[in-house]
């Protein structure tokens, strides 16, 4: 139990990941699915950022000529988070664009209803 409290950031990240994953998988509303996707990705960023942070240390930007590695936090997780954010923004944009096209065509955001309407359209 004490490990859970010591690593509370990782625990929160995993809970958030689960919430996001569940929403992306189970929600019927496309917008809610996209929100789920973003929660899921953000959880990963929290996890990565918490892993890279060491309390009491500085951001790895050398200002006063001090190159002692022990004064700074690990920069790689921050780099990974930035890359991840770029990826997640682009897939979110793509999903939203798809949602808009589906909405214009079928006037609903419910994926089950859209499936039904598309099948009817196909059979006509």
């Amino acid at each position: 139990m004490s490990e859970l409290f010591a690593n509370y950031l990782a625990v929160v990240a995993m809970v958030l990941f689960g919430i996001g994953f569940g929403n992306l998988l189970l929600q019927k509303n496309l917008i809610k699915k996209i929100i789920g996707l973003n929660i899921m990705d953000t959880a990963v960023y929290l996890f990565l950022a918490s892993m890279g942070y060491i309390s009491g240390r500085l951001a790895p930007i050398i200002t006063d000529g001090d190159t002692d590695a022990r004064k700074y936090v690990n920069p790689i997780p921050s780099g990974l988070v930035l890359t991840g954010i770029v990826v997640s923004v682009s897939v979110t944009a793509l999903m939203l664009a798809l949602t808009i096209r589906l909405y214009r065509r079928y006037r609903t955001l419910d994926i089950d209803e859209i499936t039904l309407l598309a099948r009817q359209e196909h059979n006509e």
């Binding site: 996001g20 996890f47 990974l80 897939v91 096209r101």
Partner: protein, 504 residues
């Protein structure tokens, strides 16, 4: 340093640069640029393959200023070069074969957009093949997904949009799992490059620290890749995505896109985790079970379809099951059979989709089982292509599908755990019978003399499709009859992949 060493990087960068350039071109020019780029990438890969075969070793190509444990790298060996060559040429032939339908299915003003996506897809596939850095692998998985989504939705029907949305949702679930798995692995190993990561993982297993997070991370990675490559039971997006796209898209999606992810999984098994650790944490048994289930249930679903393009799509699920079954055996022979099956399935499936589209004139009304009756008399080349593709999928001697099945059977005999051997052999037999039921049935159907009048649609006989069909048949025969050098290269490549193969 030999100049040839730069070629893999060139073959990744070339399509990446030509994609944005084709955005300002007309559809026709973009098409020619795309063909040229795919062909040049293929030739560069051939040169790389010849180079690594001659030197008999692999090399790491460092990207940027930072050396190995920190910077980014690509790695080039026999297996990578072979797969890259093969992917480039299958893509080129699929594009040529599907050209007539691409022209009809996609509005004129959107043609160049299609080729942007194709360039992006090629670039990401090659990057997935060559990368030596897991996080780069993740980024290119996402790029691959976006490009594939573009290929599905470009036709613009409601069903395509829906298929693209479903594909995106499933793929994003998969890539989310891959990302969290890589984060956990980075947390416990402290590395992203494959070799240092592997060393750290061996140490973890020896010290028995963090073995649970390691197991969880490997499991999440496998599930993520399994979702993206449509392993049973994560295949719900497959029939719509493959079945309703334009011809070239269906061919490329089924034969290449899912294989790119699988190739990354092979690298993950061999170069990051190590096959003996995979066996220790029993991930291979799980993949074996799902692979077997896919082989059987994919075929059963295929039998139930009346729409032949959906039938072929479901057959992909079964074939992916074969590949995962080979992983599940977790022996050298099993892995070689899987890699060979990747190649055999890629040629067979592209051939089937191109032939089917020619037979049905690219319309779904004619893709129906009954409407196709006698179609082979109108489209002789397409009929022949469909027959050869079907027989290859069933596993008739002389064709690539037969050779891979022989290697799967041999691999199954080589496993010393009895239940696994028995299950694999029985599943191979059942799956072959099921394959024969729908593929042979369909081939007989298209060669049955007409009972109803077949009206040829807007798309008629196309020379480009004939060329593609003939070349695909030739590749299929070459793979089927002259498989020895290919198998030898695959074996060398896998040995180079880490020299950690243990034959149990």
């Amino acid at each position: 340093m030999d100049f040839v060493r730069n070629f893999p990087l060139f073959s990744i960068l070339l399509p990446m640069v030509s994609g944005p350039i084709s955005s300002v071109m007309s559809g026709k020019k973009a098409k020619w640029l795309n063909y040229a780029v795919v062909a040049v990438s293929g030739l560069l890969s051939v040169a790389t393959l010849v180079y690594v075969l001659n030197t008999g070793s692999t090399y790491n190509y460092s990207m940027g200023a930072f050396p190995a444990p920190f910077g980014n790298e690509i790695r080039v060996g026999v297996l990578e070069a072979l797969t890259a060559t093969f992917f480039c040429f299958v893509m080129l032939l699929s594009l040529i074969g599907g050209y007539r339908f691409t022209k009809v299915d996609i509005p004129e003003e959107k043609q160049n957009l299609y080729y942007i996506m194709m360039n992006l897809l090629l670039s990401s596939l090659l990057a997935l093949i060559y990368t030596n850095d897991m996080f780069t692998g993740y980024v290119f998985i996402e790029i691959n997904t976006i490009a594939a989504c573009g290929l599905i939705m470009i036709r613009g029907w409601g069903r395509n949009l829906l298929a693209a949305t479903k594909y995106m949702i499933m793929s994003l679930l998969g890539s989310g799992l891959v990302l969290i798995s890589l984060s956990i692995l980075y947390g416990i190993t402290g590395h992203l490059l494959m070799e240092p990561m592997h060393e750290a993982i061996v140490e973890i297993m020896e010290n028995k620290t963090y073995t649970e997070p390691l197991t969880v991370a490997v499991g999440l990675f496998c599930v993520g890749i399994a979702i993206k490559s449509a392993l049973f039971p994560f295949h719900s997006w497959v029939p719509d995505a493959y079945g309703y796209s334009t011809c070239a898209s269906s061919a490329i999606l089924s034969s290449l896109v899912s294989k790119g992810y699988i190739f990354l999984l092979i690298k993950f098994f061999y170069r990051v985790i190590g096959t003996d650790i995979i066996h220790q944490i029993q991930v291979d048994d799980v993949l074996f079970v799902f692979g077997i289930a896919g082989m059987v249930f994919g075929s059963i679903s295929a039998i139930q379809q009346t729409d032949v393009s959906r039938m072929i799509a479901f057959s992909s699920v079964a074939q992916i099951g074969y590949i995962y079954m080979g992983f599940g055996l977790n022996t050298e022979a099993g892995m070689i059979a899987s890699v060979f099956h990747i190649l055999a399935h890629a040629t067979g499936k592209s051939l089937l989709f191109i032939s089917l589209n020619s037979l049905s004139d690219g319309t779904w009304e004619y893709a129906n089982y009954r409407k196709l009756r006698g179609a082979a008399y109108y489209h002789k080349f397409a009929g022949l292509g469909f027959a050869v593709g079907s027989l290859s999928m069933v596993g008739i001697p002389l064709l690539a599908g037969f050779t891979s099945k022989v290697y799967f059977a041999k691999a199954a005999f080589g496993v010393d755990s009895n239940p696994k051997m028995l299950i694999a052999l029985v599943a191979l037999a059942i799956s072959t019978i099921l394959n024969a039921m729908y593929f042979i049935g369909q081939t007989i159907n298209i060669y049955t003399p007409l009972s109803v009048e077949h009206e040829p649609g807007s798309v008629k006989h196309s020379a480009s499709a004939r060329v593609a069909v003939v070349l695909f048949i030739l590749i299929n025969l070459v793979l089927g009859m002259g498989s020895d050098p290919v198998i030898r290269w695959i074996r060398t490549g896998l040995v180079h992949f880490g020299a950690i193969i243990k034959i149990r």
